[in-house]
């Protein structure tokens, strides 16, 4: 699933490790989500949305909708 995680992280000057610590997951998890190799569960997606103070759909692209 495409997402803006890398951009949002870069805007805040956070490394993958910084984001991983804030989300209480491994850095590998952050990398896998950023590169679209792993789709987070709904609870983790909500945690990410809460952290960036954005609605989920502004972070993750709905794969069933055209751009």
């Amino acid at each position: 699933m495409k997402n803006r995680l890398r951009v949002l992280r870069a805007e805040r000057g956070w490394s993958q490790q910084d984001l991983a610590e804030r989300l209480e997951v491994s850095r590998q998890s952050v990398n896998a989500i950023e590169t679209g190799r792993y789709d987070p569960s709904l609870p983790l997606a909500f945690r990410i949305a809460d952290l960036f103070e954005l609605p989920i759909e502004q972070i993750f692209q709905n794969p069933f909708k055209e751009d």
């Binding site: 209480e24 997951v25 491994s26 590998q28 998890s29 990398n31 590169t35």
Partner: protein
Amino acid sequence: MHTEAAKRYVRRFSVVTTLYIALVAGNAALDRLIHPAPLTAGLMAVLTALPIAGMLMVLGLYLREETDEFVRDRIVTSMLIATGVLLSVASVIGMLQFAGLVGTVKVFMAFPLWCAVWGVAQMLLNWRDRRSDGIA
């Protein structure tokens, strides 16, 4: 990638593995020294195999306690790969036995084979992730 759950898993697995090795060694020594009756030998064999069930329980606990869902997903994926390989190998050997081309194969080898393939599968997934890290 050493989460708290992973550390607990390593500790528990070390204990069960040590117990298993001790029981295998003890079983072999007793077998040589006292040549136990079939019933006793059977009980000793079952007792020696019990830590294997313990290892699987430790694995199950780890999956339940691991809070990092990506790590959990990767472990489950590698377990499925190991199970698939083991069942495929068992089926091929079974067919070869039907054809009379292969003799008796020790069933005892199933768990070590599963563990070995599981380890290789995890290494491959780790390698894939590291490679992706390099690209990212």
